[in-house]
């Protein structure tokens, strides 16, 4: 899902770091905590089960936790952990244990025995120019929205600072053709939620730091510490390293921290910063919470809040959006065929062409759906909720489950539940189908297994591969099957082990 998109991108970046850098990262407790939070639930469970265990854990014991049907999850979790070097295999490959530094620091973090100031040093003295949370929220949203507005070229926005501009260009979000203009990937960027956007920029920033001879470990540590700071408290600059101090100015430009002046001895993290490492459900919030806080303040900002949730979609694919913000209209224009524009509203139609255009630009159906979902008009959400309540009531009164799936399948612990359908289901399915039209051919890199000795051998290996989720194609009669590139080594190992006997 796109809400977890930022996690994957951040994880991929971390995985791409050399081992020495990763090891250095694990020396900071705050970083350990943040990296832990970015992992998949399965990986978290494995780490937690090993963290208080002094001895290396037998891989076979670990396997026993997993149901055979969820092998894939286990395989992926271990792959991730290995790529991050969080787990180390012993020589024989039968036992694993946690990275020793990570284990120590994370354990200290949980038991509260780490060195002082691991989570930023709070300024204890009172600030003469104290600012409250409301102010910080306003500051953050102003800075951030300004960047977004600049990207779509809203008039009367001030140009962001040079460092922001260079980041936007470097990330390929904007390009310089006699004046800056937004690119396709820039539009994609706009469709993401705030957290993913911030991370996109931060990762670009990290790439940049390597050219500037800044230590990526220092930079990452600071970013992760930011994620664990407390909103509304001020922290002292003096405990930061030289690199981190130079970062402050840049982070201020993105609205992640507030510092009254360059020389001020303290800084305040904003909500954009403190929610960096949290995820989806919490994280519809940074923008929402910011707006909520602002919405209290004045009527006009309350209106602004409504702009965020203003889209009505009918079952006949017509779209109405109560907005006059160029940002929103520009985004809608990506995948809606806009017809008419009024003072406070635009109307349009979702068509096959309009969606295909968006898809050609690299926007996915999921992104579109997510955007529509999160920007739906309150009335649509209310209706959807009413429908859902009715369905549930109907089910309970008739003692059936119309949500799909066999009602008698008791061995499955998850009973299929009704989902909240904000977008009309037919529109939803159609958008997905239009995407399917485009990818009729998919290419995979991988390996073909053939010339297997007998049917039994074929069965064992192909079953194992499909359990891992790496099997792409198989032919029982010809005794051939095809696995992905990643899964090759795993399957080959398994084959060597099994077939020798």
């Amino acid at each position: 899902m796109s809400s977890n998109l930022f996690k994957t991108t951040v994880n991929e970046y971390l995985e791409s770091l050399p081992k020495t850098v990763q090891s250095k990262l694990y020396e900071a407790p705050a970083t350990c905590l943040s990296i832990y939070r970015l992992l998949s639930p399965m990986a978290k469970f494995y780490i937690m089960s090993m963290i208080f265990n002094e001895k290396p854990v037998n891989l076979r014991d670990l396997n026993k936790w997993c149901k055979p049907s969820s092998r894939k999850l286990e395989y992926e979790a271990l792959k991730r952990l290995k790529a991050l070097h969080l787990v180390e295999y012993d020589n024989k490959g039968s036992h694993i244990r946690l990275h020793s530094n990570f284990r120590k620091n994370f354990r200290d973090c949980l038991t509260g025995t780490q060195k002082p100031n691991a989570f930023g040093s709070i300024s204890l003295t009172n600030d003469k120019h104290k600012v409250d949370i409301k102010f910080l929220d306003k500051f953050a949203s102003q800075k951030w929205e300004n960047i977004l507005h600049f990207m779509v070229g809203t008039e009367s926005t001030t140009t962001p600072s040079k460092s922001v501009l260079s980041l936007l260009q470097l990330g390929g979000l904007m390009e310089n053709k006699n004046g800056l203009s937004i690119t396709n990937s820039g539009f994609q960027f706009l469709l993401q939620d705030v957290n993913a956007q911030i991370w996109t920029l931060l990762l670009q920033y990290l790439n940049l730091t390597q050219d500037l001879n800044m230590d990526p470990v220092d930079v990452l540590n600071f970013i992760f510490i930011l994620g664990s700071l407390e909103l509304g408290k001020s922290y002292s600059v003096s405990s930061l390293s030289e690199t981190q101090r130079s970062m402050l100015a840049d982070l201020r430009d993105y609205g992640l921290v507030y510092q009254r002046s360059d020389t001020s001895g303290r800084f305040y993290p904003t909500r954009l910063a403190t929610t960096l490492t949290s995820d989806s459900a919490g994280l519809k919030t940074p923008s929402m919470a910011v707006e909520q806080a602002l919405g209290e303040e004045a009527e006009e900002t309350a209106q602004e809040r409504n702009i965020q949730e203003s889209i009505i979609i009918e079952t006949n694919f017509k779209v109405y959006a109560y907005t006059n913000s160029p940002l929103e209209i520009a985004i809608l224009n990506l995948f809606v065929h806009l017809r008419t524009r009024f003072a406070n509203m635009v109307c349009g139609q979702i068509t096959r062409e309009s969606i295909r255009n968006a898809l050609y630009n690299g926007i996915t159906a999921d992104q579109i759906i997510k955007f529509l979902d999160s920007h739906a008009h309150p009335q649509m959400k209310l209706l959807a909720k009413e429908r859902l309540d009715k369905k549930i009531e109907f089910d309970t009164s008739n003692n059936i489950n119309t949500a799909g799936g066999a009602p008698q399948s008791k061995n499955e612990n998850v009973i299929s539940q009704h989902k909240l359908e904000i977008i009309p289901p037919n529109v939803l399915d159609q958008i997905k189908l239009w995407q399917l039209e485009l990818d009729r051919i998919q290419t995979f890199e991988g390996y073909l297994f053939k010339d297997l000795a007998n049917q039994q051998e074929y069965d064992i290996l192909s079953n194992y591969a499909s359990e891992l989720g790496v099997l792409i194609w198989s032919d029982k009669v010809k005794k051939k099957f095809f696995v992905t590139k990643d899964g090759m080594s795993q399957v080959a190992d398994f084959a060597n082990r099994k077939l020798k006997r």
Binding site: M1, N4, A30, L33, R37, S40, P41, M42, F45, M48, I51, F52, N53, W65, C66, K67, S69, S70, L73, C109, L110, T111, G112, Q114, K115, P116, N117, A118, F119, I122, I133, S228, E230, L231, T274, T275, T277, S278, D279, S280, A281, G282, L283, K284, T285, A289, Q292, A293, E296, A365, P378, K381, L382, A384, N413, V414, L420, Q435, L436, R440
Partner: protein, 351 residues
């Protein structure tokens, strides 16, 4: 073509290992008798130490994870965290050496626990029944509030709580957020050292179990002490929870961080620690004692260990002849049981 289209449409169901925030409610039973019996093995202090680390690790899973800590004794049940008046929270939150979310929770729990135990020493009386079921209901009501009503769940940090309480006034948003907050999951962990099953009240416990089933809250039980508790076993069995009898609680944290660390969204994919022989004993409606074999009223299904003239629950009169037959002598009863199983107003019921 079919395979491809399936992939797109099923992606969400197969990959639905979402990292949803979850609420963990811990209920610690401090009934003195149970802890006295295992005083040579482990003390409440040691258990609380492990529990606090356990709470921290739960909070470390996800920024928006929540915890609640309840304590129960024969005297009363009480919330230790969240505290009802959060006046001290702000003061406590300034900490130099610990992640502040952990610090707040840990400090409040320790402070309140000490206070509670001190109070208990003065007032404790013997022969009082456990109020564990009361604590479970408290926990469930709190869960319900967090899951469906309260918006503060959506905020990511405790510090944000104050700001969103403002937002309550905004009706529109409250409607919406309440619907989206259903993604929150919840589970409950009971730690008890109480060996005497009869101290638990059976019917309220059953009601709690049904409520928990309906809310899809798993009840996990960590049973210290020497005996299994069949009622708590039933509770975890019925709610797809984990029941473990920990005979050697020295390495409690390891057990907590593995077997009891399975998040609700992971449960479908993991083999839970087996709960093979659950004793489905029920409690007698008249004496309150647990019964293995007893009588069941055919009208209201009330369970009795001896035969009264009238059903104690629904007041329906039993057939006198059959009562006589049943009360006569053991040999006849045995015979009857073999011959017929299914007619007559009252009959032997074998669980």
């Amino acid at each position: 073509m079919e395979a491809i289209s399936d992939r797109l449409f099923n992606e969400h169901t197969t990959d639905n290992l979402q990292d949803d925030p979850s609420l963990l409610t811990i209920i610690l039973d401090v009934s003195p008798s149970g802890w006295f019996k295992i005083q040579n093995v482990i003390s409440i202090q040691d258990v609380v130490k492990s529990l606090i680390v356990y709470l921290n690790s739960h909070l470390s899973l996800n920024n928006s994870n929540q915890v609640a800590f309840l304590i129960t004794s024969p005297l009363k049940s009480k919330f230790l965290y969240p505290k009802l008046d959060n006046s001290n929270i702000i003061k406590d939150s300034v900490s130099k050496d610990m992640y502040r979310q952990f610090k707040i929770v840990d400090d409040i729990i320790l402070e309140e626990l000490n206070q509670f135990l001190n109070e208990m020493i003065d007032k404790i009386e013997n022969n009082k029944r456990s109020t564990l079921t009361g604590a479970i209901s408290l926990g469930l009501t709190y869960t319900n509030r967090m899951l469906t009503l309260d918006q503060s769940i959506l905020t990511t940090t405790a510090s944000a709580m104050t700001t969103t309480s403002l937002a309550n006034s905004n009706q529109n948003s409250s409607n919406i957020t309440s619907s989206s907050s259903t993604s929150m999951k919840s589970r409950m962990l009971i730690i008890s050292a109480n060996d005497d099953d009869d101290e638990l009240t059976y019917i309220p416990l059953m009601n709690c179990i049904f409520a928990a089933q309906k809310m899809k809250v798993s009840i996990d039980v960590a049973k210290l002490g020497f005996k299994n508790s069949s009622y708590l076993q039933q509770a975890s069995d019925a709610t797809n929870g984990i029941y473990l009898h920990i005979e050697n609680p020295k390495g409690l944290i390891q057990v907590l961080s593995t077997a009891f660390f399975i998040e609700p969204n992971l449960r479908p994919f993991i083999i839970l620690p087996a709960n093979s022989n659950v004793n489905y004993r029920a409690s007698c409606f008249i004496t309150g004692k647990a019964v293995d074999i007893g009588y069941v009223c055919s009208v209201c299904l009330c369970i009795m260990s001896k035969l009264p003239e009238k059903c104690p629950a629904c007041n329906s009169e039993f057939d006198k002849k059959i009562i006589e037959q049943l009360n006569r002598v053991p040999q006849i009863r045995k015979k009857r049981k073999l011959e017929s199983n299914g007619n007559g107003n009252n009959e032997n019921n074998n669980n």
